[in-house]
């Protein structure tokens, strides 16, 4: 079940100390820029740029302060009272910005704690003295109905100016989303990029020996919180994909003794086969609008790519060549599909129209190229490049522009952040076979492991939550 997060519309009435100007919500979220040039430019007090050249704004002195509260009262969250919640919220925001290598924020520990009334009126001289350039403040208010109101403010200390503000009313179970929303607000305003923190990840949790791994379908928030196992591990589960509305998951299961794609409904905890065919099916993908499902099916050893309406019905075969045509990932507008085929003799990357027409190869790099995933921005295709090591790489949809982002023994299966600036993948350790999920930004410099309770593979990053 996906609880709603409500943009704050009547902040003033709920929190008397807040001026009327704070009624606007998420006003400052910029739209993704079509051609984000590397570099940095000043734009009416805010900063725009792209992750591919983040080094300058890494140096921004950005302070994340403990979120204040008007009254320290108990909440129905697992974080405690409103004051404790304020500390947790600011800690999550600081962790988000720090862990993704985008900023080196300070706080909330070791920083002055603004009072509730100071949230809207920063003590600029104090922050000036501390050489703070960007200041994040916020508050938590417990509402009479048990819901929580969270406000988030970004200030430019040198300009003594508010750069962005937003507020949200969240259910107690959804309190962490407010921290992710605030992280997105800060990140978007400072980078000029689209948000990505308020999103979830589906993946496969792995335990046990190499020749008998138990593989379970699991889901978690973008920072690893709210972790939940979906399957028991009785049947091997592989390659999940979140639906764009987060209501269901596609994944592969050996439940019936052979690999088959299921559509798992997260509201009802029920699942159905993607096709009634008895042939093995694998490599599922959603279209960006959620209306189509791509899958691959082997008939008499020959694998082709099919599409079927997500509401069911007959499948349509999109590829028809001898050999293995597998995977497939839609362009953001849904008009084209990038996929993998060995029709030329080895795994290479091809593009076709969404109806299967106009198939042509785009990878000409030497080695094998596999698991292509179209960026949500449309400008890049991430894939696994196998030439010696297995490396995560990107290329242009027209072909060319190869850039390697990782170099390890076996990195595999890239999946994009909602804004197309970060790629997750899984890394397999030689000999032990242990797998872990990692992420890297488009510079290739900021690489880090994602915390998971056990070993992990097959990550699938969902879009921004509705």
């Amino acid at each position: 079940m996906i609880a709603r997060i409500l943009p704050l519309l009547a902040l003033c009435a709920l929190a008397g100390a807040v001026p009327a100007s704070a009624q606007v919500s998420i006003e400052a979220e910029p739209v993704a820029q079509e051609d984000a040039e590397p570099g940095l430019s000043l734009d009416d007090g805010g900063l725009t740029g792209s992750v591919s050249d983040e080094s300058e704004w890494q140096d921004l002195g950005i302070a994340i302060t403990t979120f204040a509260t008007d009254r320290d009262v108990p909440t129905q969250t697992n974080a405690g009272s409103t004051a404790a919640l304020g500390r947790s919220l600011s800690q999550i925001i600081a962790d988000n910005l720090r862990n993704n290598g985008l900023f080196k924020p300070s706080g909330p520990l070791g920083l002055p704690q603004p009072s509730f009334s100071e949230v809207q009126a920063p003590d600029y001289p104090v922050w000036n003295l501390r050489s703070t350039e960007m200041l994040v403040q916020g508050y938590v208010v417990a509402n009479a109905d048990g819901q929580l109101t969270v406000g988030c403010y970004l200030y430019d200390v040198a300009l003594k100016q508010q750069l962005a503000k937003a507020g949200w009313i969240v259910a107690p179970s959804d309190w962490r989303r407010a921290a992710h929303k605030c992280s997105d607000l800060v990140y978007s305003r400072l980078s000029g990029e689209s948000p990505f923190f308020d999103s979830r990840i589906a993946y496969i949790a792995e335990t046990g020996p190499k020749d008998r791994r138990m593989k379970r379908l699991a889901i978690m928030d973008s920072d690893g919180a709210n972790h939940r196992y979906i399957t028991s591990g009785q049947a091997t589960a592989l390659t999940p994909r979140y639906s764009p509305d987060y209501k269901s998951l596609l994944y592969l299961s050996y439940l019936n003794g052979k690999p088959s794609i299921y559509v798992y409904d997260l509201d009802t905890n029920r699942q159905r086969l993607v096709t009634t065919s008895s042939n093995p099916t694998f490599a599922p993908r959603w279209s960006p609008d959620g209306k189509w499902i791509l899958y691959s099916m082997a008939i008499a050893g020959n694998t082709d790519i099919y599409r079927v309406s997500s509401s069911g019905g007959a499948s349509q075969r999109l590829t028809n060549t001898p050999g293995i045509d597998v995977g497939g990932s839609f362009s953001p507008d849904g008009s084209r599909i990038v996929f993998e085929s060995d029709r030329s003799g080895s795994q290479q990357i091809y593009v076709m129209n969404a109806d299967g027409s106009n198939q042509r190869r785009i990878s000409f790099f030497g080695g094998r190229s596999a698991t292509p995933e179209w960026s949500p921005r449309g400008d890049q295709i991430a894939f696994t490049h196998m030439a010696g090591n297995f490396r995560i790489a990107v290329m242009r949809p027209e072909g060319g522009g190869l850039r390697h982002l990782t170099d390890s023994w076996q990195d595999e299966a890239p999946t994009w952040s909602p804004n197309g600036r970060i790629i997750q993948f899984f890394r397999t350790e030689r000999t032990s076979g242990k797998a872990t999920i990692w992420q890297v930004d488009l510079t290739g410099r900021n690489e880090r492991r994602l915390p998971t309770p056990v070993d992990a593979s097959d990550p699938a990053w969902g879009p921004i939550r509705p």
Binding site: P209, K210, D211, R212, R213, K215, T236, L238, T239, L252, G257, K258, P259, P280, F282, A283, S296, A298, A300, G301, N302, T303, I324, V326, G327, E340, D342, S346, Q347, A370, T371, T384, M386, F390, Q410, E412, A413, T428, R430, T431, G433, D458
Partner: protein
């Protein structure tokens, strides 16, 4: 991709039951086989596996229950053909038995592709058995991709053992 020749082909073709220990064309490091087959030797002579059982199939095929492939390949070479001929001989002897052919890959491939490749290998074995007169209705295939290695190392020897199609007989 390096081409790995098949293992011990000569020994296999000369294979008799007495030579079984060295007739396996898989690399020498092959780990103990799972299941009851390895225990049948202990009761050598008079008390063999039950006729028509999978243990009987394993005893009969002497390691030829599994065929091996080169990297990214799924063709049936002469060594594979000899093994499958032996499998067909047993299956012809017990026409009431069916078999599942499991296709597998080494770990040095991407997951989805390996699922497809394992299916292709299993089907190559199936088609050869059908060509030898085994009814296709008696044979099913399943691909495990890279999910079920038998050799656990990360080296060419282990990978060669894992690129395989194994025939499992069922009642």
């Amino acid at each position: 991709m390096p081409t790995i020749s098949k293992f011990g082909a000569a020994a296999l073709l000369a294979g008799s039951l007495a030579m079984s220990a060295c007739a396996n064309k898989a690399p020498k490091e092959l780990p103990p086989e799972p299941g009851p087959a390895t225990t049948t030797d202990a009761t050598s002579g008079t008390l063999g596996p039950a006729p028509g059982s999978h243990a009987d199939f394993l005893a009969f095929t002497q390691g030829d229950d599994t065929i091996y492939f080169d990297t990214d390949r799924y063709n049936i070479d002469s060594v594979d053909a000899a093994a499958l001929t032996k499998q067909a001989e047993w299956l012809n002897r017990y026409p009431g038995k069916r078999a599942t052919i499991e296709g597998h890959c080494d770990e040095r491939g991407t997951r989805d592709y390996n699922l497809a490749l394992g299916e292709r290998r299993a089907n190559a074995a199936k088609n050869y058995l059908v060509g030898l007169g085994i009814a296709p209705t008696r044979l099913t295939t399943v691909s495990y991709g890279k999910e079920r290695p038998v050799a656990l190392g990360s080296n060419e020897s282990a990978w060669a053992q894992n690129r395989r199609a194994a025939t499992i007989t069922v009642e």
